[in-house]
């Protein structure tokens, strides 16, 4: 039970008054930004990352943990009240949550989301405490070829899992990988794609990529076709749940907690798939299946718990392997790099105070959120009434100030606008954004591991498959890649005059 001792040490770090204050600021800002329509947790985290730059690493990560969980809470509030999931992970929450709100049960939907998130976040973080040391022990046996295989899996998974279209996913990945190439080649020190511009020689900061494509892209996209009448916001009273709601919620909460974590912890991360599965599961198990589609509380409780638990699970590959599998953890990795820290097995040895302080503040931030969000939900809901010109002007404003703060360089702002234009194009033509973010941060890391592996084997390609793990991972990759082809084959046998092959899947009506 070494982990428990370490965790207590983490609490000792996180429970100082100053660090508690940082956690509180993080939680409050994260919720406030996350609740804004169209802003998901990843965007909230990327936008707010710069405000942690002035702090020492421990304080910064404690605030960061608060922002992360705060952004997730905020996102679910928006999904429920105006049916605008900022990110694919809260799409399922929006399905039933918004229906509940329209039937006058917004308060109950918010309550089951908030309490469910708290419970799932706590269980997920506890599982993180249990599994992170195991993963670290495992990671110490990883060779370069294993890392490379797992990173390839992360690429393929980001493009394929539940995506609207695998081709468009890979297009997005290709753009991200190209962005990742910019700068000095770490092995030989040669300049790639930087055209003699010194700022580009250091590479493009993934935070700027994330904010440009997410935040600026979103603002430009909405601005290009802004609806004249703002979305209807459902009012919230005091947030509470009746006895029947509790009875119908607690099982979905627990099921979601244990369903989400493994999906988050797998390098094929993301909470899209598990939240979808949780929704299906709850609909099947519910005693009121007829309510699904019209605002069933289980359909909010389950996916929302799953979402939070998977968010905790995502920390396992991030902390133990240094492997970001979602946009949020990509931004978080770049925060580590900002302080010259490299997450991975060695981080637990070298920076135990920081790692366990971060994990402890996940618990603390989670508890703070429950206290903050149940009574303050009506206040957060008021943020949804911000006139749209101010809202999107504000997003551009905060993106600018934050990204200027990264390097104090006005050139970065120009880059931000270009990336925003790219984000606009991707939204207009349905290219998913996540593969781009994952590609731009994991690309250089994968290249490094590939070259290391081939260096060890003296260029022989067999150097990429030296362990059972890497062979197994390649098998999984092959399965993911061949799955759509196999399905298309099956479909072709059935006579069917289908629409376009790239229709977006509507999870609600399957």
């Amino acid at each position: 039970m070494d982990a428990l001792v370490d965790l207590l040490g983490g609490f000792a770090t996180a429970l100082t008054p100053v660090n508690l204050l940082y956690a509180l600021i993080g939680v409050a800002l994260g919720t406030a930004i996350g609740v804004l329509p169209g802003i998901g947790p990843a965007m909230a985290v990327a936008l707010l990352l710069p405000i942690t730059y002035g702090l020492d690493p421990v304080g910064a990560f404690i605030m960061f943990a608060g922002i992360y969980y705060g952004g997730m809470y905020g996102g679910s509030t928006t999904s429920i009240l105006i049916n605008t999931p900022g990110e694919s992970s809260s799409v399922m929450t929006a399905v039933e949550g918004n229906k509940m709100a329209k039937r006058g049960r917004a308060a109950q939907a918010l309550a089951t989301a908030a309490i469910g998130s708290f419970i799932a976040g706590s269980i997920g973080t506890a599982l993180l405490v249990l599994f992170a040391p195991v993963m670290v022990a495992l990671a110490l046996t990883f060779g370069a070829d294993d890392y490379f295989a797992v990173m390839l899996l992360a690429f393929v998974a980001a493009c394929s899992v539940l995506g609207s279209s695998a081709i468009r996913g890979f297009a997005s990945l290709g753009i991200g990988l190209s962005i990742g190439l910019v700068g000095l080649d770490p092995t030989t020190g040669q300049n790639r794609l930087s055209y003699g511009i010194p700022q580009l020689a250091d590479g493009i900061d993934v935070v700027i990529v994330a904010v440009g494509v997410f935040a600026v892209g979103e603002a430009l996209w909405v601005a290009s076709r802004l609806r004249r009448t703002p979305a209807a916001v459902v009012g919230v009273g005091r947030v509470w749940m009746g006895r029947a709601d509790w009875r119908r919620s607690w099982k979905p909460w627990l099921r979601g907690s244990f369903l989400g974590f493994p999906f988050g912890a797998l390098p094929a991360g993301g909470s899209e798939l598990p939240t979808f599965l949780s929704y299906i599961l709850e609909r099947r198990l519910s005693k009121h299946p007829e309510e699904f589609g019209h605002g069933a509380i289980e359909g909010v409780a389950g996916p929302e718990a799953t979402n939070n638990s998977s968010a905790a699970g995502v920390m396992v590959p991030l902390l133990a392997l240094g492997l970001p599998t979602t946009a949020v953890s990509a931004v978080m990795l770049s925060a580590f790099q900002q302080y010259g820290l490299q997450p991975g097995p060695l981080l637990f040895e070298r920076e135990p105070e920081l790692v366990w302080g971060l994990i402890a503040s996940l618990f603390i931030g989670n508890a703070m959120l429950l206290v903050l969000n149940l009574p303050l939900a009506p206040l957060w809901a008021k943020l949804l009434h911000i006139p749209r010109p101010y809202l999107y002007a504000g997003i551009l404003f905060f993106a600018s100030v934050g990204m200027y703060a990264v390097n104090a360089s006005a050139l970065d702002l120009l880059l931000l606008l270009l990336l925003g234009a790219l984000g606009f194009m991707m939204r207009r033509f349905g290219l998913p954004v996540i593969p781009l973010i994952v590609g731009s941060i994991l690309g250089p890391m994968a290249e490094l591991q590939l070259r290391r592996a081939l260096q060890l084997s003296d260029g022989a390609l067999t150097g990429l498959v030296t362990s059972p793990l890497s062979i197994g991972v390649y098998a999984v990759i092959a399965l993911i890649l061949l799955w759509p082809a196999g399905r298309a084959l099956l479909r072709a046998r059935r006579p069917r005059s289908g629409g376009g092959p790239e229709r977006r899947t509507e999870p609600a009506d399957s």
Binding site: A171, G174, L220, L226, P230, Y404, L413, F424, G430, Q455
Partner: protein, 179 residues
């Protein structure tokens, strides 16, 4: 003056030629991917291999692979678009899916953004940031001549104070001696 929520109604010029191209606009994405592939491959080819190379894989190998991936994806996407596949535009509660792109608003927004890029180091964040917010809100159709600039200055001053409280430097401009 119009309500803050209403964007300016922009008569889009050249609507008719727009319409004939509309169905195939996504081919622009394919063109972009081919272009990007060309840039990446050209850059990879121009990398000298005379550098002291550690290991069998040089600096051009991965860019070449990325370039090939881009060409493959661009080709598949072209085929898909020509066969009638469509990427679904992202929906959001604030987006009117049937509206054509409002290029005037976008140009004004980009103008406000670039003004900030140019002015930031000279005029400082408080002035430049306020202009950015006001300009962007104006571009998005807000026409409150008193409230808008007041909010803009409150935002830029507030963020300046918050950032300096958190130990992050922003250009102060003319207020440099005062703060």
């Amino acid at each position: 003056m119009s309500d803050a929520g209403a964007p300016p109604a922009a008569p889009a010029p050249g609507r008719s030629s727009h319409r004939t191209l509309r169905g195939r606009a996504e081919l622009g994405v394919c063109a972009f991917l081919y272009l990007l592939a060309a840039v990446v491959l050209y850059d990879a080819a121009s990398l000298g291999s005379d550098f002291t190379q550690r290991g069998p894989v040089g600096p051009a190998a991965v860019p070449t692979a990325v370039g090939i991936l881009l060409i493959a994806v661009a080709t598949l996407l072209t085929v898909d678009v020509l066969r009638g596949g469509r990427g679904a535009p992202e929906d959001s509660e604030d987006v009117d899916p049937d509206a054509p792109s409002d290029w005037r608003t976008l140009a004004l927004l980009a103008g406000a953004f670039l003004t900030n890029v140019v002015l930031l180091d000279v005029a400082g964040w408080i002035i430049s940031g306020a202009l950015l917010f006001w300009g962007a809100a104006f571009a998005l159709g807000s026409r409150h001549w008193i409230r808008d600039p007041l909010i803009a200055f409150a935002m830029s001053t507030g963020s300046y104070l918050l950032f300096s409280a958190l130990g992050i430097w922003l250009p102060a401009g003319p207020f440099a001696s005062g703060v």
